[in-house]
């Protein structure tokens, strides 16, 4: 049985009396310890799916099951301990007036876990940050360092599933490489399951076993990594997206 099962998911936002169908009838499954990619351009609904899993978008149809069980609404603490998310912009996802220490100790406090001093220092070491950064504020960190803090926060509760919403698109190329390496290492060490959203086919190809191409809220085509690398896509849109990313090919 797959760890994450999404069946005919639809999300509809209502703004100013107008209905926007952000996600329409999307289905996919992610096995435990797999890494699944969602790729598409802006407005394709790829980030909305992650938000729907977290209960931050209005689900109007279909079902999301984790471990075979439908998710409760609101999601609750058990969900928090199982699924966490890393956001796109590390400048927006850390509270500007909280120190790293506070950011990392908060999940422990919420879940009533003790021993926070040792756990925070270990969490910083795990994401490759010196423990001396513990009492810094976000504005005293670079973008890459902030994203590492955000990853450390997501892992504080030892979740099984990590949802990654364009985790490197706001970072410089060299920092992106370091962050992707960190994520790969953490996945291998902890047996994490990833659902990763990106607009960059090369990043998705590097990180994911399978990928779902999306456009205008609909699933276009699901590809294995091999099919992606050998350009074996069958739909015109997936092909166009691939062609536009030509300079991200191996030889180029």
């Amino acid at each position: 049985m797959a760890l994450i099962e999404i069946e005919n998911l639809s999300v509809t936002f209502t703004t100013a009396g107008r209905k926007v169908r952000a996600v329409q009838d999307v289905s996919f499954k992610v096995e435990a310890q797999q890494s699944f990619g969602l790729v598409g351009e802006s407005g394709s609904g790829k980030s909305t799916i992650l938000r729907a899993i977290c209960g931050m978008a209005p689900i109007t149809g279909g079902q999301i099951r984790i471990d075979g069980k439908p998710l409760p609404t609101p999601r609750g603490r058990a969900f928090a301990a199982q699924v966490q998310m890393v956001f796109q912009d590390p400048y927006a996802s850390l509270h500007p007036r909280h120190t790293v220490d506070r950011v990392l100790s908060e999940p422990l406090a919420i879940h009533g876990q003790g021993g926070s001093d040792a756990k925070i220092e270990q969490a910083l070491i795990d994401v490759g940050l010196p423990p001396a950064f513990r009492f810094r504020y976000p504005h005293q960190l670079s973008g890459g360092q902030r994203q590492r803090v955000a990853i450390a926060r997501a892992l504080m509760l030892q979740p099984q599933i990590l949802l990654l919403d364009e985790p490197t698109s706001a970072l410089d190329a060299s920092v992106q490489a370091e962050t992707l390496n960190l994520l790969s290492r953490l996945r291998a060490e902890r047996g994490l399951t990833f659902v990763m959203v990106s607009h960059d086919l090369a990043v998705i190809d590097h990180m994911c076993d399978r990928v779902l191409v999306m456009q205008n809220g609909q699933a276009v085509e699901e590809l294995s990594r091999e099919a992606l690398a050998s350009a074996a896509m069958t739909t015109p849109y997936a092909r166009a997206l691939f062609a536009a990313s030509a300079d991200r090919m191996l030889e180029g």
């Binding site: 956001f87 400048y91 927006a92 500007p96 908060e106 879940h111 504020y137 926060r153």
Partner: protein, 301 residues
């Protein structure tokens, strides 16, 4: 001094206290570069010192009457600000009056902004009907002219300083609620709130620990800018005889008493008027300076 400076500016603080102190120190360095704000701070500190040391600084008892000395003009030896119609030294009365002004200001700070902050953040965070109900109540309070509402309250409760403070507090919380709500609306949908909510945080924890710290700077700025208004309203109530009662040396009351001789003995009303003017100006300058330092938008990345 250099070791303290190094400790404050250490890029790797060893404790929460040190990192907070370091941030405060940086804010102070930024604040210090604004000369007008420093003047405002100077006036505010002078007001506090004046009220603490009034008994030492004042040459006369502010209440004791001395009818032979009544209505002496300024620069009379011994009474450099002159005397009022009961022969009381105006300088001494202004010094003691600063205590009353400060009392009122402090009591208002401890009530109105706190109530406004709570109502505003709760309304902004939950939205929906909670927001609608709380903000309509706010609108009702805003719709009354402030002084009229304060007058009505004092008329019901009876005159006196505590009641005056109460009346001012009741009439002055709505702007803080508005400010806090507006700030909450911009913060509510941010990623860091979403991330914390995803961790299972309760609404109380989010409002208290995450939303309020972001609203606090705007509210503090608003408090200092509005402080002048508080002093003026208190003086207004005093002037109308509904605040602090004679013979206490409240500044508004002193102006009211001097009104009768405004054309012949101008100093009786002018001296406390100047005091109100200087202190109000000081708080305004302080507020402007704080805005540059505290406003999260100007702080930037």
């Amino acid at each position: 001094m250099t070791t303290l400076n190094a400790w404050l500016l250490d890029p790797n603080p060893k404790s929460r206290l040190q990192s907070r102190a370091g941030q405060t120190w940086l804010s102070w360095l930024r604040f210090r570069r604004n000369p007008l704000a420093m003047i405002g701070l100077g006036i505010s500190v002078a007001l506090i010192l004046m009220s603490i040391f009034a008994p030492l600084l004042a040459p006369y008892d502010p209440i004791a009457q001395s009818l032979p000395d009544r209505l002496l003009p300024p620069l009379t030896p011994g009474h450099w600000m002159g005397t009022d119609d009961f022969g009381r030294d105006i300088y001494s009365r202004i010094l003691y009056g600063s205590r009353i002004t400060l009392d009122i200001v402090l009591l208002v700070i401890l009530t109105a902004p706190v109530v406004g902050l709570i109502i505003g953040t709760v309304a902004g965070y939950f939205g929906g009907w909670v927001d609608a109900v709380l903000m309509r109540i706010t609108d009702i309070f805003l719709a009354f002219p402030k002084l009229i509402l304060a007058l009505a309250l004092v008329a019901v409760l009876g005159p006196g300083m505590v009641n005056a403070v109460l009346a001012i507090a009741v009439t002055s919380w709505p702007p803080y609620a508005r400010v806090a709500r507006a700030e909450t609306l911009t913060v509510r949908n941010s990623d860091y709130i979403a991330a914390t909510r995803l961790q299972g945080a309760s609404s109380l924890r989010l409002i208290w620990g995450h939303v309020m710290p972001m609203c606090l700077p705007s509210v503090i700025i608003r408090v200092t800018l509005y402080m002048a208004g508080v002093i003026l309203t208190a003086a207004g109530l005093g002037f109308l005889g509904l605040g602090v009662q004679p013979p206490l040396p409240e500044w508004g009351l002193m102006i009211s008493a001097g009104r009768k001789f405004l054309f012949e003995q101008w100093w009786v009303a002018t001296m406390p008027g100047l005091a109100i003017f200087v202190v109000s100006l000081g708080f305004n300058l302080l507020g402007d300076g704080l805005r540059d330092v505290l406003d999260p938008r100007s702080a930037g990345k």
